[in-house]
Each structure stands twice: as C-alpha cells, then as structure tokens.
Amino acid sequence: MRGGKSDMYMRKTLIAALLLAGSAVAMAQESRFGEPATQADIDKRFWSVFPDGTNLPDGQGTAVAGAEIFELQCHACHKNPPDEASEFEPEDPADVLFGGHGTIGTDGALATVGSYWPYSTTVFNYVRRAMPYTSPMSLTNSEYYSITAYLLYKNDIIEEDTVLNKETLPGIKMPNSDGFINAYPEVPEKYRTK
C-alpha cells in the first residue's frame, strides 16, 4: 500500500518524533569514538591563514627587518634578489623567490612569489609553516611578517617601510591575482581537447 492514510499518519508522527529528538539532542549528540577537541588541540595543528585574513596572528614587521632575516635564515638556499650584490650565492639554489615578472605564458616562464603567486597571505602561510626548510616554525610571528614584507618589497609589490600585520597583509594585491581560472569541477571547454 502506497500513500495510504495510515502511511501518512506514520510519517507525520515519525517527523514529529524526529523534531523533538532533534531539538533535545542537537548540541548533545555525541561522537561515537571521537573526543571533544579543545582550542589548544586545534591551535597546535591549524596553521592556515586565508586571503581574507582569517587566522592571521598578532605581530608585525617591515622589509627592513626582513632583509636581515633573509640574509641569515634564507640566503643559504635561496638566491638574493637580483639587485643585491653579494659575495655569496647558493650553488644549487631552491625555488627562485624574486623576479620573473611578465614571463608567465612564455616559454621561459619563471614563476616566483612576485610573478606568479596570486595572494599575499599565501606567502606568510607557507613561509611560517615550512621555512627555513631545515628549521620550520623557528621564527616569531613578527619575524614571519618581516620576511613576508621583504619578499613582497623585493618583488616591487610594497614599499620598504610598509608595515605588515593581520590588518594590512590581506589587502595587498599581487601582480598575478587575476591569473587563475577555476578548473573544478571541470576544466573550461576552451582548454579541453576535442
């Protein structure tokens, strides 16, 4: 029997019961085997900062302080900005962090923080969690703001004395911010093979 009177009645009582139960246990519904995560549990594991500034920490810095940090903490593996002469340059450098402006789309594409990265917050997000490569998370938040400022300054994106903090960093527009096309869930027709 489908859609009979008793069927209808059953469904109504069921819905009522569910509503009642729902309101009673909405907050109290327990995880079977998980435990409540405390703020400390979360803070230890959650390092993401977002383009809109979500989860950016306190602290601040400028490129002036960042220059010194770069020399001490980064230069061993990453090349200096092209405008800075130095006796020392790594022989076998990791990713290039400066320059390459206008090369994306050419055969000699050089993707750097300056020429390719679409969001300023990504620089802070990645460097804080992962750099210096052999001692990540070893600097303070202010030092990470400073080194972020240095990378942006040396890519001609901000001034040497621009103060970066959780208010100012998200507002910085990157040169290639319009360079990306969303391919989820499908690659746009234009870039698909026939």
């Binding site: 909405a26 907050m27 519904q29 995880s31 079977r32 085997f33 998980g34 435990e35 409540p36 995560a37 549990d41 979360i42 594991r45 959650f46 390092w47 993401s48 900062v49 977002f50 383009p51 809109d52 979500t54 593996c77 790594p90 076998d92 450098p93 990791a94 990713d95 994306i104 789309g105 055969d107 594409a109 993707a111 923080v113 390719y116 990265w117 679409p118 969001y119 917050t121 990504t122 997000n125 990645y126 969690r129 992962a130 490569y133 990540p136 360079g179 990306f180 096309i181 969303n182 391919a183 989820y184 869930p185 690659v187 234009k190 870039y191 698909r192 093979t193 026939k194």
Partner: protein, 434 residues
C-alpha cells in the same frame, strides 16, 4: 628430462585486428587451446640406476628456511625491482620522489613498498600514540581522533589508483622524448587497496554547517602540507585511510592516517593528516597556487584542476626491453580515469593510423588501474605502439599534439596524452613523440 614442445602458430588473416600485426584480442586464447590439444609423445630409456635426485638443484634436495615473521623478496629480486629515486634534474629541490617501476610489474596492485611517493618536506617518523586529527571550523562540535579510535568505526575498503598530477611533466616541454624507462613519464601512478573511515562519517559526527564549501586538510610533516578539498568531494567518497593493501600505511604513505580523495591529484590526499578545517572558502595554500596549477599558453593558469584525466600506457614492451626475435608478443599496459571506470582501450601498431580494441581484464573498478592486453605479431617491421583509453563518460585520451594545442607547453601538470613506443627493424624500442 623435460620434453620440448614444438609450438607452431598459424596466423590466419581473419585473426588480424588492425594494421602492422595487431591480432584479435582473443587470439592467444584460441592458439593456447590448439597447442594444449597437441599430445606430445615421449619414451624413457632405462639406464644404470642412480639416486633419483641426481641433477636436481640444492633447493629441491634440502629443506629450506622456516617461516619468517615478515616475508621478504627473493634475494634474486633485491635490487632488481626498485623505485627510481634520483631527484629531478635542474636545480636543487628538497622535495623527493620515488617512482614506481611500472615496466617491471604486472597486475593492477602496486606492492606497498613500490608505491610512488612525492614528499615536499621529507617523510616524518610519526608516533601514532602522539598523533591526533582534529575536525573544526564550521561544525557543531570540534572533535579529535587518534588512530586507535578510528579503528572502531565501520570501515570501507576500495581499490584506487593514486597519481601525482606531475606524472609525465617531462613530456610537455622537453624537446627530446625522455628515455628513463617509464619512471619519468609514468612512474608517479600506483594502485592499492585502501581501508579507512569514510570522511563523511567523521564530518557528520562533528556536524557540518550547511554553508560549508571546503575542508582544509593539513598534515603533520615539517611543512604542514595543506590543501583545500571541496565539501562535495569530502562528503562523497573521501576517506581517512589507515590501511594500504591490508596493513597499516607505510610512513611514506602517511602513517598513521591520510586523506584519500579517489580520482583527485595525489597532492590533495594529504598524508599524516592532523587538521581538517571546515569552511566556506579555499585557503589558497602554496600547493594550490605556486604549485599544482597548470600554466596555459595565454598566460592564465588552471587552478583546482583536481580530477585526474583518462589515461593509459603500454607497460610491455617498453624501452626497458628489446625484442630479440620476430614473433608473437603480448602488448599489455594500464589504463585509468579519475572520473570512473575504463570503458575501452584501443591499441595501435602503426602510430595511430589503425586501432584494435584490446582485451580489458576485469573486474573493471571505478578509479582504479585496469589492465589491458592484445597479441601482436612483430615481423621485424618498424612499428609505433600506442594505447588510447576511453572512460565510461566518453572521455578519450588525446594525442600529444591535441593536448599541447589546448594548453601549450608550460602546463607542467596533468599531462595525459597517448604515449608512443617506436620499435625499429632490430627490435630496439624508444619513446617517441608521435
């Protein structure tokens, strides 16, 4: 004394399936029946009596070792079948990759120790008792689990391939076809049986807000690698995997727990996962901006090109072998699609002029490696061997020319074109662009 069987293959014109020697995919089946039916007669002459074991090898005459606690490779295999771990050329990078030797393997399951890996910040040595995963953000209640707690949930077990979207990157721009056997062109794909807890089970317990659109996964490695996973994927078929091929994950595969996003580029299946932040926006991490974005000819880049394409490759014969004589060979290889099942694999022996349908070995599973085979008569004539896969959604693997026309040469990621092996008159095999 073993009796030698004299096999003659009678090739009938009706057995031909396409140009340059490709045979009907049922050909081996038929000819096997024919040779099997031939009874070989023999006679043994009685000679002077000796112990019956004469001429046997030692391992037949002496009892072998006791059962080991953990089985190992034959000593004759150690060092023969191994991953290719040389760093990519061109500048220093501390990310390291181990590439699967597809040309030496058979079937569709990659042994766990040979599963490819790419790590950007090394392989951490995680103590499972100290590792916990938190779910937080736009949820009713933030929760955490250790691996022992996850063990209590109902699990799912599924076979899936994992592929790095950098697999085959050398084929985009490199003017000369790469000859490093198949490591550099295809060694970043493997197939495994994965067991874990559906991610939706855990997200449901935390109570995901209806406004949630993304889950940001972060790992516990020294770069806390992170990726944004669309919520529809997370609630559909993603899992928190704890077992691979029946045993706990290997460290290089995310021990003690990893995300597995079936059909998505490997980097999104975050290993050593310890934080899942439910939110309404992607985090725009380095691995979805600076890396794993595909540079196009017009200066734009594809971002969140998450789903893997339809793809196939012939694993035998390949440039790791030479055909020593003329005769009948089996062409075999693997096909896969990040969207679903493989519907068809075609093989060409004349560089794509004519195609024959290969036999596909079942059961064909969704988002898993599928093995195909087809007999081929090599008569000492030059040939270009290719395979072309089609998935159940009608996506067809493109030629290299078509792919480069659509995206340019700098895309680096998501190379999935038809792969070509040229065979010359002396049986030497090389990777060519055709």
């Amino acid at each position: 004394m073993g009796q030698k069987q004299n096999k003659t293959m009678i090739v009938d014109a009706t057995d031909q399936a396409a140009g340059n020697g490709l045979m009907n995919r049922r050909f081996f089946l038929n000819s096997a029946l024919a040779t099997g039916a031939a009874v070989v007669g023999g006679s043994a002459a009685l000679a002077q009596e000796t112990t019956v074991g004469e001429g046997q090898e030692d391992w037949t005459l002496y009892p072998g070792d006791d059962a080991p606690e953990y089985g190992e490779l034959s000593q004759f295999e150690v060092g023969r079948v191994k991953k290719f771990v040389a760093p990519p050329t061109g500048g220093r990078t501390a990310s390291s990759a181990g590439r699967t030797p597809l040309h030496l393997l058979h079937g569709t399951i990659t042994p766990s120790g040979l599963h490819f890996e790419v790590t950007h910040h090394g392989i951490p040595d995680v103590d499972p008792d100290k590792h916990q995963m938190v779910v937080h953000g736009m949820v009713k209640q933030p929760l955490k689990w250790g691996v022992e707690q996850l063990e209590n949930y109902p699990t799912v077990t599924r076979q899936h391939f994992l592929e790095c979207s950098g697999n085959g990157r050398v084929c985009w721009a490199q003017p000369k076809p790469d000859q490093n056997f198949m490591y550099m062109t295809h060694g970043l794909v493997s197939g495994s049986e994965w067991t874990g807890v559906p991610l939706s089970t855990l997200l449901d317990e935390a109570g995901v807000s209806k406004d949630a659109k993304w889950v940001i996964a972060e790992g516990g490695d020294s770069g806390s690698l992170s990726r944004s996973i669309p919520i529809d994927k997370a609630m559909n078929d993603s899992m928190v995997a704890i077992y691979q091929n029946g045993e706990r994950l290997r460290p290089s595969q995310g021990y003690p727990m990893r995300i597995l996003n079936p059909g998505f580029e490997g980097n999104t299946s975050v290993k050593w996962v310890r934080s899942l932040y439910v939110t309404d926006k992607p985090v725009m991490s380095r691995f979805e901006t600076s890396k794993y974005t595909d540079k196009l000819h017009d200066g734009k880049s594809l971002q969140f090109s998450l789903e893997m394409d339809v793809k196939s490759v012939i694993t035998r014969p390949s440039n790791a072998v030479a055909l020593e004589k003329k005769g009948m060979y089996e062409i075999t290889g693997l096909a896969w699609s990040g969207k679903g099942k493989i519907a068809k694999v075609e093989v060409s022996a004349d560089g794509g002029k004519t195609w024959a349908e290969a036999a596909v070995e079942g059961p064909v599973q969704s988002i898993m490696l599928t093995r195909f085979r087809i007999p081929w008569m090599y008569e000492g004539r030059p040939a270009v061997l290719q395979s072309r896969a089609t998935d159940e959604f009608g996506r067809v693997q493109p030629t290299r020319k078509a792919l480069l026309a659509a995206r340019g040469k700098q895309a680096y990621y998501h190379y999935h074109a038809i792969h070509s092996w040229s065979v010359n008159a002396r049986g030497k095999i090389r990777h060519v662009y055709a």
